[in-house]
Symmetry: C2
Subunit: 158 residues, 2 copies
DNA sequence: GATGTTATGTTATCTCATAACAGAAGTGTT
DNA sequence: AACACTTCTGTTATGAGATAACATAACATC
């Protein structure tokens, strides 16, 4: 994100109130059905991601973790992120070293982002990797996960 | 790369001798025509990348930099990598924190890799991003660069 | 040969992430 | 209930990756 960008990122406003509660409730349900546990630290990290307007760095999560200002220890947050990624509730954006909640239901182990170099917005979009998967198959590769990160300017910043 | 993989990565054998010299000569030429300078540290880092069979970490490059075993200082190597990326001579693989020489001529600011989770090979392939670029355009994004990283098993490791 | 620009050398520090081990909490048995 | 088993958490310490800041050197060009 450039330092002198004054645009707002309108693409993914953070959740709050009832909307937030429902998103977390949905995660609870999905954990139930897959015999996984949405424990307190995992729930807290998911909540922080959902509340945020923008991708969050791990140490942002660490700093914001405690209700009354006490930070978490790094492993607490990294473990929660690992869990959330494994269940598809969050994605890591490699080129930012940052994390976002999954905005698309059931994207599985594929993710695609449009990242604005001006305002820092990271918009997730439905990835169609058929071309690339065909190229991989032609080379004999068995692909288990794909990520795509496109950098540029969002409509507001152009 | 899994610790117990005994396969060889055959996809990108490191260059040596005449082949290596020609690859570097090509880079020299391309620098000339674009009014850029392939200075000693830049040339050295490119050489190390070209000689390697596999993606190299920045601190691998730092350790291998000196002819007689003396490491480089980190900024020396990071600056060279920045230059090589800018000119399209090298790519950073975000999900590995590692670097490879560009294997495709004139790929510009787009790159696509098949990364073997067993042997660590990273094969660059010709990216066709037409689908994703159309999706980006539909959202009003002006895309300046795209990277794709597909993880899985290479033919030898399957 | 003075000036502006680009690149390098050097020190220190910052950000990002994980290893290792002890303890607590849930689950299923007998 | 007592037990073993597994999963998750707490805590300390450290490893890995990258950059800020400033001084010096090399090149260009006028």
């Amino acid at each position: 994100m450039s330092a002198d960008c004054h645009h707002e990122d309108g693409s993914h406003p953070g959740l709050a109130g009832e909307t937030l509660r429902r998103a977390i409730g949905l995660a609870e349900t999905r954990c139930m059905t897959s015999q996984e546990r949405l424990t307190a630290p995992r729930r807290r990290v998911l909540e922080l991601l959902l509340e945020s307007d923008a991708p969050m760095k791990a140490y942002d999560l660490i700093a914001a973790f405690g209700q009354s200002g006490e930070p978490a220890k790094p492993p607490t947050v990294y473990r929660a992120l690992e869990f959330l990624e494994r269940l598809g509730f969050a994605h890591r954006i490699e080129s930012l070293n940052a994390y976002v909640p999954c905005r698309l239901d059931g994207a599985g182990h594929k993710a695609a982002f449009l990242i604005c170099e001006c305002c820092g917005a990271a918009e997730e979009f439905e990835p169609d990797f058929s071309t690339q998967l065909a190229a991989a198959a032609a080379r004999g590769y068995a692909v288990s996960g794909v990520t795509l990160e496109a950098r540029g300017l969002c409509p507001a910043c152009r």
